[in-house]
Assembly symmetry: C2
Homo-oligomer: 431 residues x 2
């Protein structure tokens, strides 16, 4: 416990959201004459780029999540609150929390992220869960593993085929990574374990409305990823938007496909921050911020990360990825420091795209650095090293490296647990 009294007369920065953007802003404000309150509705920071590995049983939840207040324990000027934000009152400069209490701020950083979105089809969510939280990941893991378990017990051939059909909707990096890993799970990890089914016959189907996979990458990398996925046995259907998701399966184009497991990786919607701020938003709900990432007419409020709509120097939108959120967090911390010194504002935020990465299964990856491109095994090694580097703490780096070693050398996945069953999933609720 560190008493807060020493900092009570300092400029108060409230940060809502402890994702990559919010945490980066907090880190970059170290030593500045401020006190900080960081609010998140989860007690942990989540390393989202590896969430698909929790969903596919390769990593444990605790390997990619850290208690926020523990990360910030050495900074006595920071208070961490586990709370939801209900609203923001920009006139009174207050954040209104779930219990009705309020937090007064001098500067506010809104970094509340995004959720997966169903483009007006929210009724699809029960059948096609998305992947944004640890609970999403354990839900998807449970469904994938349960499908194999039910198939092992199923005697009706058609029902068994549906249980062994896994559909991923959306072929961005998350969809590609999920499809590749599920194909490997079925093809390499599980075959020995079952007696009545041949898991290698499982179908992994990747459906994308756009004309190619990894639309954000260069076309030759897309083509490479396409071939690599097909090499793993993934069936890819492009240019075919999904028109229906039910408990029985999906409809895309003219095709009806019976599938017990559907995963949504097709789109996101920003948090409701634009509504709280009464600020202009784009179609995905992201706040249209000024070039300095502030809300129009509210220079003391910054919006960053997946909640902000910003243009890159070439006019394209800044992508919703961790490096972009971090650059914005860094920019905002600098802006606050300058203002506190009474200096004039920073030049407009300029996004620097370092590169796009995606893995395809456990040995291949594509990296698009813009100027040059990398693919194959070397790209995979770079991807793996980069992700281990960006994990927080020696403990988690060693632990993830160890888990990967087992996946790669022995095809064993350490987290094949079916837990937290709630819905009626055709098997008894474990108790």
């Amino acid at each position: 416990m560190a008493t807060q009294d020493a900092f009570s007369d300092r400029h108060h920065v409230v940060v809502v959201g402890a994702g990559f953007g919010g945490l980066e802003a907090v880190h970059r404000l170290a030593g500045a004459p401020v006190r900080i309150t960081i609010v998140d509705r989860r007690n942990h920071h989540l390393f989202q780029p590896l969430l698909y590995q929790v969903a596919t049983a390769s990593l444990a939840t605790s390997e990619i999540a850290w208690p926020i207040r523990h990360l910030l324990r050495k900074r006595p000027e920071i208070t961490t609150l586990l709370a939801s934000v209900n609203d923001i009152d920009p006139e009174a400069r207050r954040v209104i929390l779930d219990d009705g209490s309020t937090l007064a701020y001098d500067s506010l950083i809104v970094a509340t992220g995004a959720r997966h979105a169903y483009f007006g089809h929210d009724d699809w969510e029960p059948f096609a869960p998305g992947l944004k939280t640890l609970e999403d990941a354990t839900t998807i893991r449970r469904r994938i593993l349960l499908a194999f378990e039910k198939a092992e017990r199923e005697t009706d051939a058609l029902k068994q085929a549906a249980l062994l059909t896994f559909v991923i909707i959306g072929a961005g990096p998350t969809g590609v990574e999920l499809a590749g890993t599920i194909a490997e799970l079925a093809g390499s990890t599980l075959p020995e374990d079952f007696r009545n089914i041949d898991t290698r016959r499982a179908r992994v189907v990747l459906i994308e409305a756009a004309p190619r996979v990894l639309g954000g990458f260069a076309p030759d990398l897309s083509a490479y990823a396409h071939r690599a996925l097909e090499g793993l046995g993934v069936e890819i259907f492009l240019g075919q938007p999904v028109s229906q998701c039910t408990a029985e399966g999906v409809v895309y184009g003219d095709t009806t496909l019976a599938a017990a497991t559907i995963i949504w990786a097709a789109g996101v919607q920003a948090s409701p921050a634009a509504g709280w701020l009464d600020a202009p938003a784009d179609r995905a709900g992201r706040v249209k911020v000024e070039p300095d990432l502030t809300v129009p007419g509210r220079p003391e409020i910054f919006v960053i990360g997946d909640t902000a709509s910003v243009a890159a120097p070439d006019g394209s939108p800044v992508p919703g990825i961790a490096p972009a959120a971090k650059q914005q967090g860094q920019y905002v911390a600098k802006a606050i420091r300058l203002r506190l010194r009474g200096e004039r504002g920073l030049p407009a935020f300029r996004y620097k795209h370092a590169g796009s990465l995606a893995t395809i299964g456990k040995r291949l990856a594509v990296i698009d650095f813009g100027l040059f491109k990398l693919r194959g095994a070397l790209a995979w090694w770079l991807w793996g090293l980069a992700h281990i580097y960006f994990l927080i703490g020696v403990r988690n780096r060693v632990s993830v490296a160890l888990s990967w070693l087992w996946v790669h050398t022995r095809d064993q996945r350490s987290s094949r647990l079916i837990t937290q069953g709630r819905e009626n999933e055709g098997l008894p609720k474990p108790r």
Copy 2:
């Protein structure tokens, strides 16, 4: 996938429950002329002796659980089924599963374990969860961590005190281990992380109806454990049965104690196997088996582990611990082998008590070998080495050793995650 046809004319052993007893029986039947079906309602075998460490954020769920079918993958004569048993028909020699399908057996091994029991006060369960499954552990972990989070936000002093009061009911090994670890969590791991509360002021209260802690151990070890717990700041109340558990706290003896977190470690009830088998049972619901662990009048049905009521050579009941279940599994495998060879039955099962172990916090333990006793740091090392040895697989041994290294050298606990919130817990459901 290994085809089962090669084994279809073999003697069929059905094992219900993949705990320590069931798995041991299966392991000891390796090479015997049988085919085996093992049924469990969970997909994983759980290393229950370390479950309290998941509940107190020291270990991850996947570090102490393994997919059953993966453990048995190298044995083509074994089929693993994820299913609940609804009933058993001893006349027809069939096990009836949740979906109405049946499994015919030649020999049946019932090893379905026990649940925590409230002695006629099942209404206490929502307020005082017990610890038997991974979900129980993550529920308790969530409640402990949430109590500190809520206390950090609470301004009312009385409510804050209740949030910082942790009550453990029952001072057997599980209760002692939970109390010691929560005291360390509050005293060593968390203090730096909070700003408004001093977690070292948290009260950890251990309540026991019997006159001493660790009643199954020698009195001098009980006394040692008592002092060691008090050294960690645990308050111990003996000879005082709890008469009430509510959302506000507990009543024991004449005392009413306001507490937000209550954990039940006071008693267990066997699975409903006695009802399925229409067999005589003791007060805890355990089947009163013959000296050869069979059900009276049903020599082809064995009941073992926490579901069986057996007397040790000295007339005392065989304790509900892993080594006892394993010895019974081993005995039953031998009995089946002998019968298949047409030989006469084994002499009666004789339990050999190897010793009782309990840890108190992270550096002390007591071990009661009967003939000699051990306590303190050396006992702790033995305890730790024994538990790592009994974990399954190199991966988990390394991982648990690593987690313990961090706990012991840095007071960091790697799994401080608040997940799967369902009930109205006074904080928003994370979404």
